[in-house]
Symmetry: C2
Subunit: 237 residues, 2 copies
């Protein structure tokens, strides 16, 4: 937790002592009454928190908001719903890397059971975004959708992006060989890959196909690798 | 386990049924007597294994070796000893990404306790390399040292490499701004960063300093990001 993040609804009420942020403040950062710390308002400003009081059950905090966070990077990910444990890592890494949106679509080769995970049904997914943003010292969270079909997810994409689908099987070129000079949408299949009809749909929507070399990477590694290569090409990393 | 890897000492004796590879073969891949699977000899050839017999306590395998694995990528990592859980991820990711060597050095800002971890004392570290190589469908493992000082680690580095130290605090340029046309050695500090004397030593050895942008990344994410950017610049990804 490089930046301790709060929802707008939380900033006028004390934190319970059991809240992970209270534990972090008091036991890791060892803050006492009067001490300050780096704080952020989710999707809002960064600033300072100050410990106003430490009670038996709660910690009272006072905030001073300073600078707005800069906008997220013009990078969108569309990816086939992976197993929940993989999705958790991708949510956190994507927020840390500053993506502006993530669309997890129901791929033909996704396991249907993945969509039933408590990750999605309990809202747990948002917690992983907050962890990633806090790590990166940012307040902004990527927009996330899950459970859409691929056509529905594609219909949400901004115009004017380079659109690149990663595919280790049917790609004529490496991702590094594609010249990039404007925002990028990256498509990734689920762990078992794109179906033929998904490939056809992506081609019809103007996606180029690219690979990440001959090595078979885990999905979460491929996400960090591809996003980093794209950010470097855009001078953002 | 995209490729099931074996030590040279293991290929003429049956696998015990409790071995994770036997469990994977019989319960995930559902192989029966006579069936084949993709196998590799660690640091050697790839080929096929065949299930010769399934006994109460063991599985007998027969191998046919076909093609040698291509050499690893000309990329070396020198990094300050991180906490063991972070080192585990870096070992696995580095092997999956095809680095040829990893040197974990005792940094001034590394916690001394990290070096005492069973990760290093039991040889567990090598298991994470095997997992990463198997994921990437490779047989080759990076060379690893741990416990050297920074001068000792630097003395092991090959000549003729671009040498780049990542540093979010004192870098004049982004990693993406550095032109690369030959093998690369990347230096990363420990989680708490480089010391002043370590920075001086790196500069004296010709390291350029570069950053990965304004976002604060976990060490394991920074490793995947930096390696991917470098591999892309060299046309390897």
């Amino acid at each position: 937790m490089n930046l301790i993040l709060f929802e707008a609804s939380e900033i006028s009420i004390p934190l319970t002592r059991k809240d992970a942020r209270a534990v972090h403040l008091l036991t890791v950062l060892r803050r006492n009454v009067g001490d300050t710390f780096d704080a952020g308002l989710i999707n809002g400003a960064r600033g300072k928190g100050r410990v106003a009081a430490i009670n038996a059950d709660s910690v009272a905090l006072i905030f001073t908001w300073e600078t707005p966070s800069p906008p997220l990077d013009p990078l969108v990910l569309v990816l086939g719903l992976p197993r929940p444990q993989t999705a958790r890592k991708i949510l956190q890494e994507s927020a840390a890397l500053g993506l502006s949106a993530l669309h997890f679509f129901r791929a033909e080769k996704s396991e249907a059971s993945y969509a039933q995970s408590t990750l999605w049904s309990t809202g747990e997914w948002r917690r992983h975004l907050v962890t990633g943003a806090a790590q990166a010292f940012d307040t902004r969270l990527p927009e996330v959708t899950h459970g859409l079909s691929l056509p529905e997810a594609l219909s949400l994409l901004p115009n004017g992006h380079h659109s690149i689908a990663l595919d280790n099987y049917e790609s004529p070129q490496a991702l590094s060989a594609i010249a990039l000079d404007r925002p990028v949408t990256l498509g990734l299949g689920p762990e078992r890959g794109w179906s033929a009809s998904e490939r056809d749909l992506l081609r019809a929507r103007g996606f180029l196909f690219a690979h990440l070399g001959a090595r078979v990477l885990r999905t979460e590694t491929a996400v960090v690798a591809a996003v980093s290569i794209v950010k470097a090409r855009l001078g953002l990393m």
